[in-house]
């Protein structure tokens, strides 16, 4: 499997007042392939946001290497070029929106990288379309006059306009209601298909990206635990709570069923779960 992004033993510590140091990341290794939807989960303060910033070319690790393809990004590489290939959406759209109009705001990224004229307009329109934002209605309005959901879409469009190959999102689901969440998940799927991108969602809620994510990494106080498959997370040996996280109700149910010896082809599909439960109950009753 050709890797797109690889983190090798990344550590990051920052100075505290009084000559101490706090370790945010401790020899973290992660591998991201094209088309992955990756979930980096951790409790608040676990180091996940720091990790996102290292992956996006914004924070140099104190030790270890970040490899993009063959290039070690922080050592010799073209950091600015790397930042173009990775996009990072921060939690709150207010951390990013600034321009007079939505159109100009979305154009900020590509413009900084030299796009002009037709190419620029295309990039902006494509991004708006991917997130479901109507430029006819909202394009010339100030980003600050938009509703919360529209602001988030505008901010995402601003990041997608650069067509990053690795898209990182730092806690994108906080404060979203059900429809907002579904909308975002669809936008992510669309973008992934459209650009062949890898998507990394950093969150403290496993349920946010549960059915969508293919691989999981849980960060606990700067150290990671990797799970290649959703099913691995559900294995009885893993104490998710000890890692500061909680499985979504789907996961808890699936885990209980798996632990009772029931097999599930797709632990995230409610019909599969229902059939398995019904069958098991019949079998039980039969005795």
């Amino acid at each position: 499997m050709a890797l797109r992004l690889k983190l090798e033993e990344i550590s990051y510590s920052y100075p505290l007042p009084g000559r101490q140091e706090a370790a945010a990341l401790d020899e973290v290794s992660i591998e991201v392939a094209p088309g992955d939807i990756f979930c980096v989960a951790g409790a608040n303060g676990s180091g996940k946001s720091t990790l996102a910033q290292v992956c996006a070319g914004l924070l140099a690790p104190t030790s270890g290497r970040v490899l993009y393809g063959e290039e070690s990004v922080y050592e010799r590489g073209d950091l600015r070029g790397f930042r173009r290939k990775t996009g990072l959406l921060f939690q709150s759209p207010e951390d990013q929106l600034f321009a007079d109009s939505v159109r100009k705001d979305i154009a900020f990224g590509p413009r900084n990288h030299g796009l002009r004229g037709e190419q620029l307009t295309e990039a902006v329109e494509k991004a708006a379309e991917l997130v479901g934002l109507s430029l006819e209605k909202l394009g010339d309005r100030s980003p600050f006059s938009l509703s919360e959901g529209e602001k988030r879409r505008a901010a995402l469009a601003g990041v997608l306009a650069l067509r990053p190959e690795v898209l990182l999102l730092d806690e994108p689901f906080i404060g979203l209601d059900y429809e907002g969440r579904e909308h975002l998940k669809k936008a992510l799927s669309r973008y992934r298909e459209d650009a062949g991108a890898s998507i990394i969602v950093v969150t403290h809620e496993l349920s946010d990206i549960w059915p969508l994510a293919t691989r999981f990494t849980i960060i606990d106080v700067g150290k990671v635990r990797r799970f290649e498959e959703r099913a691995d997370l559900l294995s009885g040996d893993v104490d998710i709570n000890a890692l500061g996280m909680k499985l979504p109700q789907w996961g808890i149910l699936a885990r209980e069923l798996l632990a009772s010896g029931i097999s599930l082809e797709d632990p995230a599909d409610p019909r599969v779960l229902a059939k398995a439960i019904a069958a098991h109950r019949e079998a039980n009753r039969g005795r």
Partner: protein, 279 residues
């Protein structure tokens, strides 16, 4: 009638409440009629923009009613004097732990409310100690609030609200920025407060939290579209989705089981489903 007046001191009554934000194109609240009792835990649900926060802020006097009336513990919020007096009986904690803190130590933070009420220092001291003890953070008393974790900050905020010795505690999505263990702690605290006779109204997105409430109220476009027990409101996944909410996993599975011909009682959590499975 002495009885009703006494009773109303322990209730929040919302009558035909309407509210519109200045410059908005539509009403945020279009006629709400509700009653909240002391000693109960309410969950207030609804999609973004449904009016839940607005309703909560009308209930503690932050916003004055556009029309209609809110009687919070016998105080009418239509007049300024009423709105000024309400925070002493109806307290609120907010969504963002960081933007609520004013002081440089936890105990002074918790003391902020009683200080505003002009109480004597020894009374303030007692209230602060009681609130910190109730919330379980007495050991954090001399720490700096902004250096604490998000969950701890929220507990400090709740202690600050409790130091007002309120009849009701309103929570405006106070758990939505917290991780799982912090949320659990807050919900446990809400249940404890309810047991002590304080009325808790918790605005939330998380149906698992709503499942713990005595009563669930769902808003949509400024009106109440559902009201009842969690089992009565949250067990039908298509209804839940139509209200703009994310159905609980077990209810979706129960629905599928129903399609396969099994009749499953109203369940809200995994334990109940497993109990049925092995029944």
């Amino acid at each position: 009638m002495a009885g009703a007046a006494e009773r109303s001191k322990l209730q929040i009554l919302v009558e035909e409440l309407r509210f519109e934000y200045p410059g908005a194109s539509a009403e945020a609240l279009s006629g709400i009629d509700l009653e909240f009792q002391q000693g109960m835990l309410y969950a207030l649900l609804g999609r973004n923009g449904s009016g839940k926060s607005t309703l909560a802020r009308c209930m503690n006097g932050v916003l004055a009613p556009g029309s209609g009336r809110v009687m919070a513990c016998g105080l009418d919020t239509s007049c300024e004097a009423g709105r000024r007096a309400v925070p002493a009986t109806v307290s609120m904690v907010f969504q963002n732990p960081d933007t609520q803190m004013v002081a440089s130590t936890v105990e002074e933070e918790v003391a902020f409310g009683p200080e505003n009420l002009g109480l004597e220092p020894d009374v303030i001291r007692r209230r602060v100690d009681d609130a910190l003890g109730l919330v379980g953070i007495s050991d954090l008393a001399r720490r700096q609030p902004l250096r604490l974790s998000q969950g701890q900050k929220q507990l400090v905020a709740i202690a600050g609200a409790l130091a007002m010795e309120p009849t009701f505690l309103l929570s405006d999505e106070s758990t939505s920025m917290l991780d799982y263990s912090a949320r659990t702690r807050v919900l446990e605290l809400f249940e404890k407060l309810r047991g002590m006779g304080i009325g808790v109204v918790h605005v939330t997105h998380f149906l698992e939290e709503a499942a713990l409430a005595d009563e669930v109220i769902v808003l949509d476009a400024g009106t109440v579209i559902a009201r009842g027990t969690p089992a009565g409101i949250l067990t039908d996944p298509s209804r839940v989705r139509s209200m703009g909410l994310d159905p609980l996993a077990v209810t979706v599975v129960a629905y599928e089981l129903g399609k396969l011909g099994h009749s499953v009682p109203e369940i809200l959590d995994v334990k109940e489903l497993l109990a049925w499975l092995y029944a």
